[in-house]
Symmetry: C2
Subunit: 393 residues, 2 copies
Amino acid sequence: MKLNSNYSNLKKNYLFIDIAHRLREYTSLHPDADIIKMGIGDVTLPLAPAVVEAMKRAADEMGKKETFRGYVDDNGYDFLINAIKNYYSGFGVDLDYWEIFVSDGAKSDLGNILDLFDSDNTVLVTDPVYPVYVDTNVMAGRRIIYADANESNGFLPMPDRSVRADLIYLCTPNNPTGAAYTRAQLREWIDYAKENNALILLDAAYEAFITDPDVPHSAYEIEGARECVIEFCSLSKTAGFTGTRCGYTIVPKTLKADGDLNAMWLRRQTTKFNGVAYVVQRAAEAVFTPEGQKQIRENIAYYQQNAAILMSGLDRCNIKYFGGKNSPYIWLKCPGGMGSWEFFDRLLNEANVVGTPGEGFGKNGAGYFRLTSFSTHEKTTEAMERLYRMLKG
Amino acid sequence: MKLNSNYSNLKKNYLFIDIAHRLREYTSLHPDADIIKMGIGDVTLPLAPAVVEAMKRAADEMGKKETFRGYVDDNGYDFLINAIKNYYSGFGVDLDYWEIFVSDGAKSDLGNILDLFDSDNTVLVTDPVYPVYVDTNVMAGRRIIYADANESNGFLPMPDRSVRADLIYLCTPNNPTGAAYTRAQLREWIDYAKENNALILLDAAYEAFITDPDVPHSAYEIEGARECVIEFCSLSKTAGFTGTRCGYTIVPKTLKADGDLNAMWLRRQTTKFNGVAYVVQRAAEAVFTPEGQKQIRENIAYYQQNAAILMSGLDRCNIKYFGGKNSPYIWLKCPGGMGSWEFFDRLLNEANVVGTPGEGFGKNGAGYFRLTSFSTHEKTTEAMERLYRMLKG
């Protein structure tokens, strides 16, 4: 048989392997070091009580003949789809029931959606970039072009009319930079996509961290988005579902394309996917109840307080940064013109703090560094104190 | 953007839509009819108590900071991978830890595995066929050839040396026919695959229903399989997980190919999948405990008793059938030379029993009919009694 030769074009992503290696080396030499980890973008607070209770109730239902559930419905259970529909109403967005697809997370669908497109398409991603957007397209042999995100545009590149793209990935609020498009900026991208008969794949995984009223929670708040945006969201960061796996993908029926993308996606999913577990869909439903919303908002507020601690710590050190305001990520400019890895090594060796070197996300990440707000208040405060002492020397 | 034009070559699968339509029509005319449904291949018995308890314990863990789990490990949690490894040991099969990938069901992985192969491959499927094997390859534009399964070969086609195939789908015990390859028969397919540098994608979703000692539970019981077989299994039918979603895929490190398929699959999964929920993996682990095995075996035995009721009922009617012995499916030859849909209509109208017309699974299904053993003893017995009375006229 012939293999998919595009796989040989994948770059091995050494970033987190390198980090783990350097960390292991350091701790083997300094076994008693009190390391503070602010590198990996995984949540730490437990599932909300309302979510746990819903999951346990659902497990009990699955154990009784009268309430047992077999194969999951096509695009998700109605109780969850209606909860998501209602959540979008809160942003003033009216979705059709059949435009909402329950997923096992944004990452799966961001990759799987590509099944619907020819390999002969030009894909636009920003640099720095969440590597999954690149790798999934390399696997299919698509041309990839980059839009530079840098200090001069606040890590929010705007469309370049001289460039032609077919599929455009936007992650807003952004991983890794934490920068978020305003309504006016996103409208420019939507206009560009419409002019180019292009499609925007919008990763809204960090939507729940938005605090700025000018930053939209959904692209569909903006006119024209229903013609050219597929939106992916996840409960991973919203409700601590990184290990519970549930999200949702919005495929409007009004997308402009040479075929019915909504119908194609339903066909793709019913052919290659069997839905999300009943217990998980019940857990997700609980996120959208008033009680669930109150509980998850407390967790998000906790992380946001960490972001505030990071921001004031960096201000104190006179370090420039992006993100934090609408995002759990802080993207800082390495002080003193240090390179990403140079700063990583100093921070590890001198302050025992671990973060993520920006250049792991692309060339424009060189000289930048990502910190996450998923630690505790105490450790976050301590990390900033150590950074201050390190730089003060 | 350019769409994947292969989607326009997909045939709409009207089978279950047609069935639902005819059923709806009948019940609207006969609202009080006592319909017995033996059509859809979904389980009906609840999750085993050990599974429910494990899921609830895991939900509690997810609700406490100390035991909360974030992102799932690469190919699954070690507790589940080791349980699966141990289960295979029971068949005399020794798998490497990194050859086992926890999935959200066989269907997903049977489709997604195709990412690893070029579209320029010839795919061999049997006819009748589980439609997913065909549709997933049509979506990628691969050539599909058919091996005829029919009465003369007991619905177990053997390899034809004059035919060249690259990817071979075998479902054993089979959906829809219930027929299962013996060790000797499967060895012939393995020999054929090796001669052709082909790969067998073996769907073992019904493995737990095997009673015949000559029928292998895993292809890896047979010499040479580790060079040419990827095996897909699921807890859907084994443990009633159709609505809970967990399975496993075995990708040997010793497969003969022009690249490392095991490494490619790990790369595919870590890029396009985020693993199975912790609570679901704990539930799956419970299936493999002595207590869990005892409980799920009781459920399987219940379905097997239904299969026995179906088989003796068909014997009484002098109807020829396949399957049932190693499978929850009975594949019967429609009596009196009736066509599949003709028999469907008579059975619905005269006996108020719903099954699945064989021709929905391919041309060789014409004149055949599938019944499932997932109903209750009482309804299964009653269905056979009604069939007898109908035919006796």
